[in-house]
Amino acid sequence: MSRYIAKAAIRGANLIVGEAEQMVEAAVAELGASTPVAFTNTAYHLPVILGFTGMEVDNLGELREAVAYAKRLLNAMPGESLWLPYLGETLDAGAATLLATEAIEAVRFARGLQPEPIPGLHLTGTSFTSPDNNGGGADGGHANGPIDDIQLRAWGIQLVDGRMPGFAAIIGAARSNEAAVSIVRELQKRNILVFLSGNVNGRSIIHQLMEEGVEMGYDTYIVPFGTDTISAIYALGFATRSALTFGGMSGGQTRDILLYNKYRVFAFALALGEVDDLKYAAAAGAINYGFPVIADTLIPQILPSGITSYEHVISMPFDDIPGDNDTERARRLVQRCMEVRGVKIKITDVPIPVPYGSAFEGERIRKADMRVEFGGSKAQAFEYLRSVGLDEIEDGKIEVVGPGFDDVPEGGAMSLGIVVEVAGRKMQEDFEPVLERQTHYWVNGASGIQHIGQRDITWIRLSKAAVDKGFQIKNLGDILYARLHADFGAILDKVAVTIYTDPDKFQEWLAKAREAYQARNVRLADMVDESIEEFYSCTLCQSFAPNHVCVISPERLGLCGAYNWLDCKASNQINPTGPNQPIPKGICLDPVFGVWQGSNEFAYQNTHQTVERVTLYSIMQDPMTACGCFECIAVVIPEANGVMVVSREDPSMTPAGMTFSTLAGVAGGGLQTPGMMGVGKYYLLSRKFISADGGFKRIVWMSSVLKGMMADELKGVCEREGDPDLLDKIADERSATTVEELLPFLEEHQHPALAMDPIF
């Protein structure tokens, strides 16, 4: 700290804690102590209060206790002379501020005042995961409020594998709208989540971005929390839950939670505009997490490190930043933020006329904003990647065979085929689908371009804005060329891309592609656990969940759904010392439960001696651990003699008496919990899905969202299991949310699990 900041922060903390106390008291008096308080869709109560104090606050009466706790953390301001030390005291005051601001938001929730109405603000991608999040002003416009557990987990794999290094909590308003846009674009480019809150004299960066037409919401990685400083608490709620979700910590393990964030979550606060006492106080709270603070105004700097990894507080007066315009100055400001937090991001320079970064992956192009689409209902598109000999292609050759879309009317469609040819000494045919599947993410990374599907169900849309900026079909090739070299340079030497719009050529190559898809399907079907000598590990998540290891076999993909056996094999080729290591199977100790000497030994060593034995095919005996990024959770329902599978996209109550969020708290963090397991959704389709416990037929309940998402595949599994109507016998949240409802449903539909051997 500096004494100036210490004074301001302690003053701010005293005021806000007093304010929180008054608000809670008033609410208790008015609404009663038993009135529930809760944020949207979280199993972590009020997460910051839970993290710091271990208190599970669910009503106003309990909230009062939390505020009393905050009060005890307050100290006197340092004097003008002969002052007493203030760093520890200021950090404690910062913690008090966080507890108080969360309490205030909780009261606002209890009063129906959160999320904050902001007329005209319509978020992308929120309605699905936050069905309750529908407050708002006259036109329903509103800020996001806290991020729910579901979204946190959905981002989990990106957070842990480094694709999404962390978040920037922006507080205030930028020097200009131009600066505001430049700052968030620079952050998006680096795939850093952008959390917005606060204002300067009533004007917030949220207003600035709205004026500039920047899309905000989960899909664009820009989450507006609210226009006051208090709403910045949601950023720290997110941070706290990262530790609870992925780090396997529980409330009250305060130091561990904070250190987890210091070392694993690359977040920082960016204070835009004048910094008042409350902002200093909140910043002191953030520093507890190891998050540095960067300001675009003149404030005292705190450069020695220790609580944070590098500098604590940096002042970068905006007008003094060299640059021709605010866009450039903002770019330098963001660069400095990266240095201060120690975020090392490799930005692949993709030479296209629109901004590029995976923050743009979730962007949707509405029909009205669309210039042209390839594929969809009115045309066809495919993508096909194959490996060829080194002398067969010319590196960097990008060719469009056929016409462009100039003649296609606005909003029209045309057919298009993308053929990527790669060559490299370490390239293997098995890697083709691994690389090809990346097309989805890579193409989506361009601002104004949307990519859906894969293989011959590819569907690409270009927005008018992107085309106005000069985006052409050939640029799709530029993207693929740049990314293939950047991401797979270790196994590739040459890349060439040919895009076919010529109808005859299109058909010719579509046929070739389909032939290849078919061959791959056959190859995949043949690839079973018994047919290979090595499994692969995935310890990617150990950056977040230090005691978790995924053992990935051909018939059991990673629980996050992002890594199958082939992906791991390719990843190992690219980075031989990376997180995916071959695990020689060794002696098979139990073919039914799927226990090998090799996988046991690997798990023991790499979970820091916490997991001694792991089965690949059982939920009951030594089940595999989970980090927190799982797509689904499988849970035994003893009364039904079966298991239920709940999707992370399902916010509803389940027959286990818990929602996904609550279950996830038990299933994650690298703990081995018999009867509960985090899994990837495609594992449900595997012949080895809990095969030791009876297999797919054990599923008595499944979130309807899964049934819909994998309808065809599940149908195939039911047929394979010899019970084509099995899917209809499986209940979902529409038919049962309690065991009492579930059992009659199963009996009525004669679910096979009822007749199976006892699962225990």
């Binding site: 004494r3 002969l82 007493l84 760093l87 005292p300 020695p304 220790g306």
Partner: protein
């Protein structure tokens, strides 16, 4: 012998004898009236034979002086044996003093735990649990008094233990513990090692200098990792773990219109009760009845540091100021217990109305009033003593108290627990910021400046000179004992003093809000420095052990045998310690080399005597920079740092106050 003849009268002005202007003022008033240690230091020259460790008087065949061509005593003992034996006995005496203090504290805790005292209670329950943890005592869920009792009994057991190892050795780094075992110097029991020094140095026993010195180290460790550490811990349990507070220092803290009591000595049990008694309404009323406006308490020596650290009671001075406090004529009673108490106090007091009250059965002084303190009736004892002082108030004659000066304010109270807290608060407290600062080069290194006053050098001069140079060159300084009091007198313990520090150290001071010189307590609290160094070594980034750290110990004005014990246990713990006075073993180059280089090679720490203060300072930097280099740290470069802090902000606000325009987005405006 010519050396023993009274020297030609040396003309010395008070300002040659002390750099403390308050001391000089009182000394001037004493001239020709009251004789002080300053006068005697001129009239008595140190015995040159004893000074060099050349005198052996361990048997009646001697005393033998091993000087000139004499290389052996009557029994054949060599210069090395004689020097080592003398050194060993001094260390044993020092260790015995500290450890007896620790024993006293353990007995006090036992009495409290048994409910046998009045006035005392347990002030820091968290520390009870922490200490129980160190001792392997189960504390969770047990009544606190049960745990306290077991701690006291375990502590007392350490003194009489015959085999095994001291429990607190486990608090050292694993590497250090291993080394102690390998080198066979891990102490077995506190009393046993001190007794063994006495045995081995008896005529005709241990006659191998290195072997004697190994036992010396082992005995010294019973002080640092035994008696002193226990004393610190138990004092924190009983009287509270210190946290920073403001106070004043020097003779100016005595009051013209109040009853002045000065507590002097080392053990805090009685002084704690006197602190309480001095605010007792009944006694305040009694003081008023005698015409006084209140009861004013001040301290001297380490008792002063104990009550300063926990209550902000101001020290009236350090060791050499003790006679002068009485010589102000303003002290109603000086209450003394043990260690560093000059016998001359009783004589000085005869010139004034002051009552010198001895309180320990271990320490009586001819001519002083003895009021034996009984910890079972601690508060009553304290009240009786305060009453005697009040009764004496009407007897005060014309007093001349030097006026207080503004630079005599200070911040004290840095326990190692608080030092941890101040670097991160309740949740993030650690030594990471300090280690980071050292690693980055903001802080060049760490120095503990400790020890006494010595009438052979101008009071406070070497201490202040050394600290000034160290902080100017970005060395963070921790101080204890009389060195701390000395530094405080010149404003060094004020946070504002960071402006005298190098740019990097200043940044760290401003970030935390501390002075560049940090007061960690009394001389038994040197054990806190062991804990601090161990925490630095454990935190990571600066090696694995104390001996890896760019840190040194300095004892500029050493006087007592305790200082030699402290220096020895720091050496055994891996710290290099420089003393600012001539070597007491200089008669044997072999012993000089053994404790300096021999120990350094084996333990990574050693003891060196360097009376040339400029040379001493240069050695400190050489040592620190060598350690930095060994750790592979950035080369120290003062110019790299200093961009932190409030200065720019304050300038901007000033501009604004003067009616300037405000653009928060630019420094240049």
């Amino acid at each position: 012998m010519p050396e023993e003849k009274p020297d030609k009268k040396v003309e010395k002005k008070p300002t040659d004898m002390s750099i403390d202007t308050a001391v000089c003022e009182v000394l001037s008033n004493c001239e020709g009236v009251v004789e002080t240690a300053f006068d005697r230091a001129i009239s008595i020259r140190p015995c040159p034979i004893g000074a060099e460790g050349a005198c052996c008087k361990h048997c009646a065949m001697g005393p033998c002086r091993l000087v000139a061509k004499t290389t052996r005593g009557v029994c054949g003992a060599t210069r090395a044996t004689v020097a080592a034996r003398n050194f060993a006995r001094a260390v044993a005496a020092g260790a015995a003093a500290h450890s007896d203090h620790g024993r006293g504290m353990a007995f006090a805790l036992l009495a409290v735990a048994k409910g046998e005292t009045e006035g005392f209670r347990i002030r820091d329950e968290a520390k009870v649990h922490a200490v129980a943890g160190y001792m392997g005592i189960k504390s969770e869920g047990r009544p606190i008094m049960d745990v306290a009792r077991e701690i006291a009994e375990t502590a007392l057991g350490e003194f009489g233990k015959q085999t095994g190892e001291l429990i607190y050795l486990k608090r050292a780094t694993p590497a250090r513990q291993e080394l102690w075992r390998k080198e066979k110097i891990a102490p077995r029991g506190i009393d046993r090692e001190v007794v063994e020094v006495m045995h081995r140095t008896h005529m005709g026993v241990d006659q191998d200098a290195e072997n004697i010195l190994d036992q010396t180290l082992r005995a010294s460790m019973t002080d640092g990792w035994g008696g002193s550490m226990l004393a610190t811990d138990i004092t924190d349990i009983l009287f509270g773990t210190p946290t920073p507070l403001q106070s004043q220092v020097n003779l100016g803290v005595l009051k013209d219109d109040e009853v002045n009591l000065v507590v002097h000595g080392h053990e805090p049990t009685l002084s704690e009760m006197i602190v309480a008694a001095s605010t007792d309404p009944e006694l305040l009323e009694y003081a008023k009845s005698k015409g006084a406006n209140g009861i004013n308490l001040a301290g001297i020596c380490c008792t002063a540091n104990e009550v300063l650290m926990r209550h902000g009671i101001p020290p009236a001075g350090n060791f050499l100021s003790q006679e002068l406090a009485i010589a102000t004529g303003a002290v109603e009673a000086m209450i003394v217990d043990v260690q560093c108490i000059m016998q001359s106090l009783a004589e000085v007091a005869t010139h004034f109305h002051t009552k010198v009250i001895t309180t320990s059965p271990k320490a009586k002084i001819e001519g002083a009033t003895h009021m034996e303190y009984d910890e079972h009736h601690a508060y009553q004892s304290a009240k009786d003593i305060v009453r005697v002082a009040i009764d004496n108030y009407p007897n005060r004659g014309a007093a001349k108290i030097p006026g207080p000066k503004p630079d005599e304010a200070l911040i004290a109270g840095f326990s190692h627990e608080y030092i941890r807290y101040m670097q991160g608060g309740l949740y993030r407290g650690s030594f990471r910021p300090l280690n980071d600062a050292v690693a980055a080069g903001r802080i060049r290194g760490l120095a503990g400046v400790v020890g006494c006053n010595n009438a052979r050098v101008a009071q406070d001069a070497p201490t202040v000179q050394i600290i000034r140079e160290l902080i100017k060159n970005d060395v963070l300084v921790v101080v204890t004992g009389c060195a701390a009091t000395g530094a405080a007198k010149y404003g060094y313990l004020q946070p504002e003093f960071m402006d005298h520090a190098g740019a990097g150290l200043r940044e760290v001071c401003e970030a935390i809000g501390i002075p560049p010189v940090v007061h960690v307590g009394s001389c038994v609290d040197n054990s806190r420095i062991l804990t601090i160094l161990t925490e630095c070594a454990t935190e990571g980034g600066l090696g694995d052990d104390i001996s890896d750290l760019p840190a040194v110990g300095i004892c500029p004005e050493y006087m007592s045998e305790k200082a030699l014990s402290i220096g020895s246990y720091f050496a055994a713990s891996g710290a290099y310690v420089l003393f600012g006075l001539p070597s007491p073993v200089s008669n044997s180059p072999e012993v000089v080399d053994l404790i300096q280089n021999g120990w350094n090679a084996r333990f990574g720490g050693g003891i060196e005597f360097e009376p040339d203060i400029d040379a001493l300072i240069a050695k400190v930097f050489t040592r620190i920079d060598a350690k930095r280099e060994a750790l592979g740290l950035a080369e120290y470069d003062a110019a790299r740092f200093g961009e932190s802090g409030d200065r720019q902000m304050e300038e901007m606000l000033e501009t604004l106050d003067k009616g300037g325009s405000l653009n928060v987005y630019s420094v240049s405006r």
